[in-house]
Symmetry: C2
Amino acid sequence: MNISSKNSGISANQQKPFVKQLEPYRKHLADIHKNGGFDQLESSINLPFSKHIDQILAKAKGYQTKTLNTVVVIGIGGSNLGTQAIYEALPKKNVELLFLDTVSSSHFSNILERLTKTHKNKKQFLIVSISKSGGTAETIANTEVLLSSLKKSYGDVRDRLVVITDEGSKFHDETIKQKIDSLTLPKMVGGRFSVFSAVGLFPLAVAGYDIRALCRGAKSAIEDGTSSITTKNIAMSLAITTHLQQKNGFNIHNSFFFAPELECLGKWERQLIGESLGKEFDRNGKRVNVGITPIVSIGSTDLHSMAQLYFGGPRDKFTTIVSIKDMHRHFVPKQQLFPTLVENLAGKTLATLMEAVVGGVVAAYQKSKLPFVECVFDKLDELSLGNFLQMRMLQIMYLGELMNVNAFDQPNVEAYKVETKKRLQNA
Amino acid sequence: MNISSKNSGISANQQKPFVKQLEPYRKHLADIHKNGGFDQLESSINLPFSKHIDQILAKAKGYQTKTLNTVVVIGIGGSNLGTQAIYEALPKKNVELLFLDTVSSSHFSNILERLTKTHKNKKQFLIVSISKSGGTAETIANTEVLLSSLKKSYGDVRDRLVVITDEGSKFHDETIKQKIDSLTLPKMVGGRFSVFSAVGLFPLAVAGYDIRALCRGAKSAIEDGTSSITTKNIAMSLAITTHLQQKNGFNIHNSFFFAPELECLGKWERQLIGESLGKEFDRNGKRVNVGITPIVSIGSTDLHSMAQLYFGGPRDKFTTIVSIKDMHRHFVPKQQLFPTLVENLAGKTLATLMEAVVGGVVAAYQKSKLPFVECVFDKLDELSLGNFLQMRMLQIMYLGELMNVNAFDQPNVEAYKVETKKRLQNA
């Protein structure tokens, strides 16, 4: 992965005072990394180094039979976005992951049909139900409805359920009481920072992905992102750049992925940026209503719908252009059916066309003097994805520090939850 | 469909001067509607009344054999977003639509595999290649690659291709020369306003959807949206509300759909809002860099990732909350496996849970004094979707008028296209 900030609009000199400002926080992160454990808000950076990976792998192995072909992940927000981001970005394997997040009868019916019509015995599927708190209404409702529906075809399927939740939550207690298999995550690790806990690693391991490589990628991002060598510490540098451009009015972050398989990675970033930095109060209790609004674009698709706004509209978007080298092997035949419609296509691979588009977009951003960062993946694999996700999580921690907000809480979410509970009580 | 603006933050009295300002434009639209024809920028409003629908239905009928089971729609931006929005929102039928927009070898391979492995003869599929100008690089490249790949299995498949393009474009000429089946759309109808031309109607008709009902819904939106009776003219009223709140700093529009099947409708709206209103220059040639940035949220999914930003972060989002009555018939069993985790779930349908969530969100928006519009669908069907899409298109025309921009062009898209062409030439 190669990241270039040369078009970010912020020079190394402009960054210097903020590198100094962040030095105590960098040291704090480096200490957490050095000391290990899970007693700090930032402790998620210790997940990729943790011994829990062995336990996850061992448990996953137990379920990886020749019969297994489907894993249903029931979870919402931080409980499924990271898993889905990695799963959608990588080539499919023999075991398929299906995701059930909100309540939706049509989506639910599709999944139920898959588990009952094409399956003959319950060992062909596994249900992974994930709720950090154990009290997420949609996840519990979906789990209840799915298990009771499956009962009609297979009898009790609690032996096909693995629960992932906080150690000591009511959900965890219930699994012990009912002898349901479970894994836990450390309480201090927030949902949006939990992808390298059992939450993300267990379903991916069962599906056959190399979670050790994911963690290797994450580890190297942590070594870099806690380093005092400024040129190595890309997470810090991107945080400073984003912060300064936000102060210049670029308060929307556009993740522009030139690969449709990265759309879910964008959705994971949305939560990470939106929920961590969107705050009513700063750390001094002052009302600030700050935040960066994350948007996700897919190239070249969205060039045909959003490029006009991006190049002509309000100058309020800071963009990360993400592309992958040499993705598309198919080529346009030399003998075209319609040779007169688009020039210079004959004999070219789709990769060449995509590279020309990305190059064109980069040049157009430069000409428009809009700030952007370029990120080029040599290859989409566990190693590079692990590296990217962890780098982003560190960047957001540094950004929280720069914006003087608590990047680890989400107090305003309570507002609608309280109202929903009232309505459910009266329904 | 029931739309309520009572929480938009704009009173009927505040709207009055703008209703007066828009009166000449309303008359202009009413005249176009009365006179018919396709010689005006706004002529897309005549599509649902046009005789071309008979022709589209007749052609679609010719392809609706018992053998047909897959239609591949090759198109990007305005050439597929509307079709996809409607298709994803409605229950599946016997003929499946697959969409190929950007160039992506992995996506392409999936589609090719579907057309070659599970198909035995070419009458099982139809390729619809759509490019308004006839010169869209991705669409032409995908068409060339797909037809040449299919040749290996089926020989010449040009008899399984229908082209949709501007009357008189080079693409149209080629179809005549090569005796390829084709349909055209009027030149004055822009891509993002073309869903009720052959672009949207033909693939949907082949797939068995009721395009007459779609057009009936659209027609009633046009009757309402060109009406001088203010209470009837919701498109105009929403345009005024959105405009005034944009001037108050709410320059992001959040389409919050409480139904995952409407995500593609959101993507269609993104283009409509983004491309129509995001402009570097106003109609007097003054540099303005205005626009409304559209974002799409899915409830309840995104409550678990974005609610913190929406309720705590910058007060810059004007929201439309869209929900559907009584969608989800499944219910949580009275005998739960985990009765202690979430209160008041036992015996409730998923619809009740979703309604409690929507109610909770509405209450939280009210408490936060954030402006929003509520839109409740009684039912998702062709009629209601046709009505909604056409209402939005009219709203955007009125918004263009209020913001003093040309809602029908996209001059800034050229910037990257020119650069892409250069690179393709040298590749």
